[in-house]
């Protein structure tokens, strides 16, 4: 029996992985070959999807990107024994793209069967939780604090401090909420971990619940990820069946359960207070802070709200110790960041590395430049609320503070490449348009400002009082940045301001034409 891995990851399925798996099974049966097909997560080399992996004595040999039409020739080439074929990329772990990474959060993603508790445990799963049960609540919080882990959702708030705040609240109902409303364009790390290693997220949530004294966890997942919802629900069911969720988990005396909730297409629900409102069954309207969710969160109870990646990293920190994680990275950005490389890109995918890698190295060396082969004009880092950065800033190291110093943010770690055909004035307009569509409407700067932003950029693009309107737009951005309640209105100016600053010529095109 040969073990074959074909990803169930949504990106792999979008490139034909389901049809491929069916074709491989059919061809194997027709040839009388004994195979076991495991639907794994993606390894993150997304340009090679669907990537078939075959278990051989030398290691797992990869073939990709494989199409249904390649199946017969793969069998002819003896791929079940790792045979030579134009799609053969060699042993996957030895691939240069994999070798250059430091996989911490994603160490099991793409390697294991995502919904098999046995496979998870065979790869170090639940070791961190067992240790957490031994050391107890305050030691867990201390360990998470010492690791230097910061919220991977974008804000970068120290996770340990958040946990301590909730743990210090008087005993009673407390909640663990995971923000899986990954709406930023160019990001897919939450989706990948929930499809490829969902039990790590569940384990992180149990550890968190144990640390803060909460017995209930919710995962709020966006509805645009249907495959993710299916896989994660299967993982919850598997964990419960194996006794890792429910009452008296593995004899610890601790009760904890996880429930998956699916959002309904509102980007703003990725903002933590809006998410809590939505979980409560209300309109996803942002709450004013304070009070912080740590004090008054879900249903008014103390609540930890963490991003998927932060929570999925917790088991490793408990397993290997805080110092192991804190030793990675630079400055106040400790550990690793799963970079998501996307857009007009040659080698797109998930690349986990220590903080501090220069932006240009990511764009040119790791990503290999653009798919169209044209020069890179801009990179948007951190989703629709992130700044557009030009080539002149490519020496910027990837860390929270270095980016903040240049009026930009690393956000959730997504990078979208654009080639030289992009019109930055149009992208600035789109940024404002998106904010107008998704604004929850509670505060005026965001609700009205975004629409006025679209109108003003339209005037600029038409060449109407260009300099005067650019000044007006800058003033509007300032108002939105400092007057909005949450990061949607507050950060929507980042792409606009950065486009104005780094690509001024794109806003003056009609004026230039008129002058000629």
């Amino acid at each position: 029996m040969t073990k074959i891995y074909i990803p169930l990851d949504m990106a792999a399925v979008a490139m034909g992985a389901d049809r491929l798996a069916a074709a491989v099974a059919k061809e194997a049966a027709a040839r009388g070959q004994q195979v076991e097909i495991v639907r794994n997560g993606s390894r993150g080399m997304l340009w090679l999807e669907p990537l078939i992996e075959v278990e051989t004595p030398a290691g797992r040999v990869g073939y990709g990107p494989a199409k249904v039409k390649d199946v017969a020739s793969l069998f002819d080439a003896g791929f079940l024994a790792g045979g030579a074929h134009p799609l053969n990329i060699g042993v996957v772990d030895e691939h240069p793209w994999m070798k250059k990474q430091n996989r911490v959060t994603f160490v099991r993603c793409g390697v294991i069967d995502p919904v098999s508790v046995a496979d998870y445990e065979a790869h170090g799963g639940f070791v961190g939780l067992k240790k957490a049960f031994e050391v107890g609540s305050s030691a867990i919080v201390e360990e998470v604090t010492k690791s230097g882990l910061r919220g991977r959702g974008g804000a970068g708030f120290p996770t340990g401090i958040k946990w301590k705040t909730v743990a210090d609240c008087a005993p009673g109902q407390k909640y663990v909420v995971v923000n899986a409303d990954e709406g930023d364009s160019g990001t897919f790390a939450d989706r990948m971990i929930m499809e490829g290693d969902p039990l790590s997220l569940i384990e992180g949530m149990i550890i968190c619940g144990y640390a803060i004294g909460g017995s209930k966890g919710y995962v709020y997942l966006r509805s645009e990820y249907p495959i993710c919802a299916t896989v994660f629900q299967a993982a919850i069911d598997a964990a419960r069946a194996a006794g890792w969720l429910g009452q008296n988990i593995k004899g610890s005396g601790f009760d904890f359960d996880v429930e998956l909730r699916v959002g309904a297409g509102a980007y703003v629900c990725g903002e933590e207070t809006s998410l809590l409102e939505s979980l409560e069954g209300k309109r996803g309207i942002v709450r004013a802070k304070p009070p912080l969710p740590a004090h008054v969160g879900l249903f008014g109870k103390p609540t930890v709200v963490n991003n998927v990646l932060s929570m999925a990293t917790i088991p490793m920190i408990m397993e290997k110790g805080a110092q192991h994680y804190a030793d990675l990275g630079v400055g106040r950005s400790r550990g690793t960041m799963p970079l998501q490389i996307a857009g007009n890109v040659k080698y797109g995918g998930l690349f986990e590395t220590d903080f501090g890698v220069p932006l240009g190295e990511i764009v040119n060396d790791i990503a290999g430049g653009t798919r169209t082969g044209r020069p890179v004009k801009a990179v948007q880092v951190g989703g629709p609320l992130g700044a557009y950065l030009p080539q002149s800033l490519f020496d910027l190291p990837f860390d929270y503070e270095a980016f903040a110093a240049k009026d930009s943010l690393i956000g959730h770690g997504g990078l979208v490449l654009f080639d030289d055909t992009v019109d930055m004035a149009w992208m600035a307009r789109f940024g404002m348009e998106f904010c107008a569509i998704e604004s929850c409407g509670k505060c005026t700067p965001c609700r009205i400002g975004s629409t006025r932003g679209v109108e003003t950029i339209d005037k600029i693009r038409k060449g109407q009082d260009v300099e005067k309107n650019i000044e007006l737009l800058k003033d509007l951005c300032h108002t939105m940045k400092f007057g909005s309640l949450c990061a949607l209105g507050g950060f929507a100016p980042y792409p606009v301001e950065s486009a104005l600053r780094h690509f001024p010529e794109d806003f003056r095109k009609p004026a230039l034409e008129a002058a000629e």
Binding site: M10, V13, A14, M15, S185, G265, G281, K282, R371, I437
Partner: protein, 158 residues
């Protein structure tokens, strides 16, 4: 959506009742109603308001806040084309605009035969395979004009 049942109050009440044990049951109920009936009509909103003991105005506010829920049935099939930044970097805006023009549609509209509704979506998390789309929940990476036109034909046939 394909296979949606015609709306009836009794079935709606059953669906609502099945979720009342949950904390904050509104979204799970709305998803279940829409899965059953293909939409959340005004009468279902009324039933929900009564079951959750909130005003109809408040319930109406919740339903209309979320892009996913709609009060009248959509086409039998659903096509969502991503127009977020990553997909735009690979020409999604032009692709979508030309597609809509070719089929004489605007965003959110349904083809005259009721077979397909086309909506924009802001990121499907398939950003290394831009541009992308979702057809009845099935993801499509590196989508092109030809594939989109095929989907229109496929929707017609069913």
């Amino acid at each position: 959506m394909a296979g949606a049942a015609p709306y009836n109050d009794e079935r709606a009440r059953e669906i609502i009742a099945a979720h009342l044990g949950l904390e904050g049951p509104a979204l799970p109920i709305l998803h279940a109603l829409q899965a059953e009936f293909g939409c959340v009509p005004e009468s279902a909103v009324k039933e929900m308001a009564s079951a959750l003991n909130i005003s109809r105005a408040e319930m109406h506010g919740v339903v209309t806040f979320y892009h996913d829920f709609h009060s009248a049935p959509h086409g039998r099939h659903a096509l969502k084309i991503c127009r977020a930044e990553s997909c735009q970097s690979m020409g999604a805006e032009k692709l979508a605009n030309e597609f809509l023009a070719r089929h004489k549609l605007e965003w959110g509209q349904t083809t005259p035969d009721g077979s397909l509704t086309v909506d924009p979506v802001y990121c499907l998390g398939l950003c290394a395979h831009s541009p992308s789309a979702l057809y009845d929940g099935e993801p499509i990476g590196m989508v092109d004009a030809e594939t989109l036109d095929e989907l229109v034909q496929e929707a017609k046939g069913k």
